[in-house]
């Protein structure tokens, strides 16, 4: 599962080696078993419930994980999905990634109940320290086991933090102090705390970890370079993959005489 850093960076830059052929961009990464991001946050939760229902129906033991943020936790469609999931005991793990802010509004100012793990109402919830890698792993393992034993659905709230702004247009400082950001970076950073744990347990030496750091940096630098050098898809792909079967001879273009040929290019991953 998953895609290479090159594929992700390519997609961010809208290039052809991107995991969605560059057509989606930052919010729309797709690959096998990974059903992408959603522009309208919260829309993915009913989607996740649907996928879980499909797994339940097909009896393939599959479990669906739908992730959303503390901002999206206030969207109505989540509660519709929760209700259906509980009613039909779907193998669904709903994960609220609580980073404390929905873009510019802090969780306390957006939610009457900031205990997001309880907002599944009848769905049991688990609070997880999202900055602790091992805690997240164990919680996911537990949740997955629950679903496999048909004890689903379950809600996880992973508490984390967002260092930079929400997006390129958000500096991230107009609604919180720099001290707050620095404090989290100093004391709760997940990578640093895992590193400390490893060193304390003497599972590796500082030098070995440094080697990993350098290797990773190199790999990403290379991926960035390759992604920047990658080409964009051609203009012919603008009207590609809109439909599975284009019923009209051509897609209508800008002027009355523009006729665009609809192409089917991308290969389907979701079902045979």
């Amino acid at each position: 599962m998953g895609v290479s850093p090159f594929s992700i960076l390519s997609e961010l830059l809208g290039r052809k080696s991107g995991c969605a052929r560059g057509k989606g961009g930052s919010m729309h990464m797709y690959c096998e078993n990974f059903y992408g991001g959603n522009g309208i946050v919260g829309a993915q939760v009913p989607l996740g419930a649907g996928i879980a229902l499909a797994h339940q129906y097909k009896g393939d033991g599959g479990v669906n994980i739908a992730l959303y943020g503390d901002g999206a936790a206030n969207q109505g469609q989540l509660f519709e999905a929760f209700n259906m999931a509980k009613l039909w005991k779907l193998p669904s793990i709903f994960v609220c990634e609580n980073n404390g802010y929905g873009m510019g509004t802090s969780a306390e100012r957006a939610a009457a109940n900031t205990n997001y793990y309880t907002r599944g109402d009848m769905i049991p919830g688990i609070w997880v320290d999202g900055m602790d890698v091992l805690a997240v792993r164990e919680a996911t393992r537990f949740a997955r086991q629950m679903c496999a034993e048909e004890k689903g659905p379950v809600v996880l709230e992973t508490v984390t933090y967002r260092y930079s702004g929400h997006s390129m247009s958000d500096p991230g400082t107009s609604y919180r102090t720099r001290e707050e950001i620095q404090e989290v970076r100093a004391h709760r950073d997940p990578i640093h705390s895992l590193k400390d744990k490893i060193l304390q347990a003497e599972l590796a030496t500082a030098e070995e970890l440094k080697v990993i750091d350098t290797d990773v940096k190199e790999e990403i630098d290379r991926a960035v370079k390759d992604a920047k050098a990658d080409g964009e898809i051609s203009m012919e792909e603008l009207p590609a993959d809109i439909y599975s079967e284009n019923l009209e001879p051509y897609i209508r273009g800008i002027t009355a005489v523009d006729k665009l040929k609809h192409l089917n290019i991308g290969s389907r991953v979701n079902y045979a």
């Binding site: 057509k23 919260g42 936790a73 957006a110 809109i242 209508r252 800008i254």
Partner: protein, 322 residues
Amino acid sequence: MNFYQAVNNAMDIALASDPTCVLFGEDVAFGGVFRCSLGLQDKHGKDRVFNTPLCEQGIVGLGIGLAVAGSTAIAEIQFADYIYPAFDQLVNEASKFRYRSGNEFNCGKLTVRAPCSAVGHGALYHSQSPEAYFAHTPGLRVVIPRGAITAKGLLLSCIRSNDPCIFFEPKVLYRSAVEQVPTKDYEIPLGKAEILVEGDNVTLIGWGTQVHVLREVAQLAQDRLNVSCEVIDLMSIQPWDYETVINSVKKTGRVVIAHEAPLTCGFGAELAATVQKECFLHLEAPIQRVTGFDTPFPHVQEPFYLPDKWRCLEGVRTVVEF
């Protein structure tokens, strides 16, 4: 003042002159993603300018409730692309309130504002122009200004209108559209279009960002084709200024309509259908629509998708050479 400052000024005036006026939406307290509500919470108070959670359907529903109870409500939807969860509230509730209650109740004091249209890097969900969906709903007013002066006047008209209004703000114009905006309180009437450039050969109709493209096209047409174009900014999509458009078409006999939204059932379709019916014998050529393609708004192919000046010029050439 630039566009966002004009919007800010209009809301400031509305909040100051109408004690029942409130402004709310996602992240509006600190000024909003485009700074339209900058300073308003400090000036008018937390009970009048406040953030809502992330829930468009809830925001508009709340706005309708406020308006019905007598408050002037300005609901901000962070991007027009996010307005769809609120579609049911707008189409089924807001637009029909007065009608279904036999005029006993109404939510006319509701204004929904949203940034719309392409900005260059918006991709699928930060670039849409959804005016056509709402124009198709009787009971709503839909307004799209082209610059700072029109933004302020039209927004104040919308806020004070007794019918629910949707005010789309082309986001690319927020900083780039700078004009000498009068600081006093003024309104621009809804339902009236404006002729920006007078001409005799071709009528060019657009709104929002596209108006600026069409002005360039008119200049290009004059320079390269020796064709004189009349540029009309519709300003109000619903209701649109029927008289101004028809009179212009009867004068020129040729029409090019341009909009960013996709071709099929874009608002240009409504204009074309009405114009051909009323001006059939005056038309010298079939009406041209220069619009976005019938595809979702693309990611990297945006420059090719938009009806830029060259495509529009091509449209002018087509009607002239018919």
